[in-house]
C-alpha cells in the first residue's frame, strides 16, 4: 500500500487528501469498504479496480460448514433497490481461510471478515478458527441471521441475544481484534441494541443490514422469491440507514460506526459521514457499477474538498454540531443557558 497520506492543511486538488479513518485500534487509509455479501472475497472486483486502494474488503458472511444457500429465485428488483434471499451460500470457514483469506492476504488487501451462525456456539467456533489462522484486520458479526434455537428469530432483533453473540465472539477472539456488530434496522429501538453490543465487547457497529421485504409476482400470483421474504437493499433504504447512524451517533458519541445502505455516490457517502459514520460500506451499487467503491472514494474526496474540509475526520458527525456543541452566544460572548434559549423568539 503505497498511498501518500502525508499531506495536510490547504490541500490543492492535486495533492493527496487525508481520507484516513480510525475504527477502534484499526486505522484505514480510506473509509470506503465493500459491504458483506456484495463483493464475495474481493477477487472478482480486483478485475475492475485495485482492491488495495480502497479502505478494505468486508467478505461475505462465512459459517462453520459449507452451505448451499436457498433455492432460486433469490432476488427481485424493486424501486431503487432489490430484495435478496441468498441464504448465506458459502464454502465454510476452513475453505474460506485456505483460499479466500489466503488470497486477500497475499494480495495485500485490508480485510474485515464477516461471520455468521445459527447458534452462539457456531459463532464462537468460527471466531476461534479465525483466531488461530490470523491474517485479517477485524471481524464483522452478522447477527441478522436466524437463531435455530429460537424458531428462526434473528439474533439482531433483541438486545440480549445480540449481546450474547458478541460476548461469545469476543471471548473467542484475540483481544486486539476490532469486532463490529452488524445491526438490523428491523427493530423498535436500534440505540438499545447498539448500546448492548457495545457493552458486550463490540468495538463498534455496522449499520444497516437489509430490511425484511416481500414482492408478489403478479404473473404467477405467488411470492417472487423462493424464500418468500427477502432483504431489501439499495438506494431505497438510504434514509433509514442515515437515520439509524444519526440515532446511534447521538446516543454513543465515541462508538465507531460503519455506515451502509444504498450508497451510490460520494455524495451519499458524505451524507452518512456527516450523520456519524466513521467508514462506509458499498453494497448493492457494486452490482450496478463494479467500480463503485473506487469511484465513490474519489467522489467522496471531492465532496469533502468542495466543502472546505481538510480531512475526512473533520467531517465525521459534522451534522450533529448544533445538537452536541450548540452554545448560543450573545454579543458579550457569554453563552446562554438552555432555559434562556427557549425564549429567544421574544427577546429583542
Amino acid at each position: 500500500m503505497a498511498l501518500n497520506l502525508a499531506s495536510r492543511g490547504n490541500a490543492s486538488p492535486e495533492s493527496t487528501f487525508d481520507l484516513r479513518t480510525q475504527l477502534g485500534s484499526l486505522e484505514l487509509q480510506s473509509p470506503v469498504l465493500t459491504a458483506s455479501g456484495c463483493a464475495a472475497a474481493g477477487r472478482e472486483l480486483d478485475n475492475y479496480f485495485d482492491i488495495t486502494a480502497i479502505g478494505g474488503i468486508v467478505t461475505k458472511s462465512i459459517m462453520l460448514a459449507p452451505r448451499s444457500g436457498r433455492a432460486t429465485p433469490r432476488m427481485a428488483e424493486t424501486p431503487s433497490g432489490m430484495l435478496n434471499s441468498i441464504g448465506l451460500q458459502g464454502p465454510g470457514v476452513e475453505s474460506f481461510l485456505e483460499t479466500d483469506l489466503a488470497w486477500l492476504q497475499q494480495r495485500g488487501a485490508r480485510t474485515i471478515v464477516s461471520i455468521a451462525g445459527g447458534t452462539a456456539d457456531e459463532f464462537g467456533k468460527v471466531a476461534a478458527k479465525l483466531r488461530v489462522a490470523g491474517g485479517f484486520d477485524a471481524i464483522e458479526v452478522n447477527i441478522s441471521c436466524p437463531n435455530v434455537e429460537d424458531r428462526g428469530q434473528v439474533f439482531a432483533c433483541r438486545a440480549d441475544t445480540s449481546a450474547q453473540i458478541i460476548q461469545t465472539v469476543r471471548r473467542n477472539s484475540d483481544n486486539k481484534i476490532p469486532i463490529f456488530a452488524k445491526l438490523s434496522p428491523d427493530v423498535t429501538d436500534i440505540v438499545e441494541i447498539a448500546t448492548s453490543v457495545s457493552q458486550a465487547g463490540a468495538t463498534g457497529v455496522s449499520v444497516i443490514n437489509t430490511l425484511l421485504g416481500m414482492v408478489i409476482d403478479t404473473q404467477t400470483m405467488r411470492p417472487a422469491l423462493a424464500g418468500v421474504t427477502g432483504g431489501l437493499s439499495g438506494p431505497a433504504i438510504r434514509p433509514i440507514a442515515v437515520r439509524c447512524i444519526w440515532q446511534i451517533r447521538s446516543a454513543l458519541p465515541n462508538l465507531p460506526i460503519i455506515g451502509m445502505g444504498g450508497v451510490r455516490t460520494g455524495h451519499d457517502a458524505l451524507e452518512m459521514v456527516l450523520a456519524g459514520a466513521n467508514a462506509i460500506s458499498v453494497g448493492t451499487s457494486i452490482f450496478n457499477d463494479p467500480m463503485a467503491p473506487m469511484r465513490i472514494q474519489k467522489e467522496l474526496e471531492q465532496e469533502l474538498r468542495n466543502r472546505g474540509f481538510e480531512s475526512l475526520t473533520q467531517a465525521i458527525s459534522f451534522a450533529h454540531r448544533e445538537v452536541s456543541e450548540a452554545v448560543i452566544e450573545d454579543e458579550t460572548g457569554e453563552s446562554k443557558d438552555e432555559s434562556e434559549r427557549d425564549w429567544d423568539f421574544i427577546s429583542e
Binding site: N47, R67, N288
Partner: protein, 296 residues
C-alpha cells in the same frame, strides 16, 4: 486500453461506455448495434454483456444481461457489438427506445464461452426464440474450424423466430420449427433435433433458449451419449460473480451437486451436468444443503 475502460486482471471483462449505433426491429425483437471498445476484441461465442439501465439516477439498479450475437473488432467505430433484445419488461423496453448516439454502459465479455471442438466434427446448434442470437457467432467459429454445422431454430410463431438469415449464411443447413406452423416444420425445435440425431451421426450439440427447451435437448443428448453444451438463463443481480443470485444445481466431476453461479461458472454448462428437473430447489444431497433445513 480505451478511455474510461477498466480492465479485469484475470477474467478479461471490462466496463466501458459505449454508444448506440443502430436499433433495428426484427419480428418481435430489436437488434442493437453498439460501440463497445475493448469488449469486442475479447468476446468469444457464448459470452454475454450486462448493460446499465435508465442512466445514473435510475430506479432500476440492476444491470440487464444479453448474449453477444456478433462483434466487428475493427472499423470506423473502433469495435462494434451486436445483441438482440426481446422487450419483455421495463428495462428491456427502455433499451429498445434508445436511438443512435445515445450513451450506454457495458460490462463484458462475461461468463464462460462455448467450448469449441479441436477437430472438424459434426455439430448441431439448437436455438429457441432469441436464444438463436449467440449461435450466429458460434456457427461462424465452428465453420472456421471446418466443422459441419446443422442449425435448428424454433419459436412459438414465425415472428418470434430469430436470426434465420444470418444462420442460413453461416450454417451448413438450417431447419426452422414453429409450434403454430407459420414457418418451417410444425412442432418444437426438439422434434427437429430428435430427427437429426436419429438420422445422422452427431458429435456435439450446442443449445441456447428457454430452460424447458434446454432440459429436453440435454435429455435427448445424454440418453444418446452425445456431448451437449447449454447456455442457461438465470436471473442475475451482478453478472460478475459476487452476489450468488444466479445459481443452479450442477453435478461436478466428483459426482457431488453444487449450487454454481451461472454468471461466472456458466452460462454455458454441460447438458449432462445440470440437474434440470431440480432447478429452483436445493436437491437432496447438495453440497452444504444440510444447514438449510434447520432454517425454516
Amino acid at each position: 486500453m480505451s478511455v474510461g475502460a477498466s480492465e479485469g486482471a484475470n477474467s478479461g471483462a471490462i466496463q466501458v461506455n459505449g454508444e448506440v449505433l443502430d436499433v433495428q426491429r426484427t419480428g418481435k425483437y430489436f437488434l442493437m448495434s453498439v460501440t463497445a471498445p475493448g469488449i469486442t476484441e475479447r468476446a468469444r461465442p457464448g459470452q454475454f454483456v450486462t448493460i446499465g439501465i435508465g442512466g445514473e439516477e435510475s430506479s432500476m439498479v440492476l444491470r440487464r444481461s444479453f448474449a453477444i450475437q456478433g462483434v466487428q473488432a475493427r472499423g470506423m467505430y473502433g469495435g462494434t457489438l451486436d445483441f438482440v433484445v426481446s422487450p419483455v419488461g421495463k428495462g428491456t423496453q427502455w433499451l429498445t427506445k434508445l436511438r443512435r448516439h445515445d450513451p450506454l454502459n457495458l460490462v463484458g465479455p462475461l461468463g464462460k464461452p462455448f467450448t469449441l471442438p479441436t477437430k472438424p466434427v459434426t455439430c448441431v446448434l439448437v436455438g429457441g426464440g432469441y436464444g438463436a442470437a449467440p449461435l450466429i457467432m458460434l456457427a461462424q467459429a465452428l465453420r472456421e474450424r471446418g466443422c459441419r454445422v446443422d442449425t435448428i431454430i424454433g419459436a412459438s410463431t414465425e415472428e418470434k423466430l430469430y436470426g434465420g438469415l444470418d444462420l442460413k449464411r453461416v450454417s451448413t443447413s438450417l431447419t426452422l420449427a414453429t409450434e403454430d406452423g407459420t414457418a418451417g416444420i410444425r412442432g418444437r425445435v426438439t422434434d427437429g433435433l430428435i430427427d437429426t440425431l436419429n438420422s445422422s451421426k452427431v458429435d456435439v450439440v450446442y443449445a441456447c433458449g428457454p430452460m424447458s427447451m434446454l432440459a429436453s435437448v440435454a435429455e435427448e443428448c445424454t440418453t444418446r451419449k452425445i456431448f451437449s453444451q447449454c447456455s442457461v438463463e438465470e436471473s442475475m443481480a451482478c453478472g460478475i460473480g459476487v452476489c450468488m443470485t444466479c445459481v443452479l444445481p450442477v453435478i461436478g466431476e466428483d459426482g457431488v451437486t453444487r449450487m454454481l453461479r451461472s454468471c461466472v461458472e456458466g452460462p454455458i454448462f454441460r447438458g449432462d451436468r445440470v440437474r434440470w428437473a431440480d432447478i429452483g430447489t436445493i436437491p437432496e444431497g447438495t453440497w452444504g444443503g444440510e444447514g438449510l433445513r434447520s432454517w425454516r
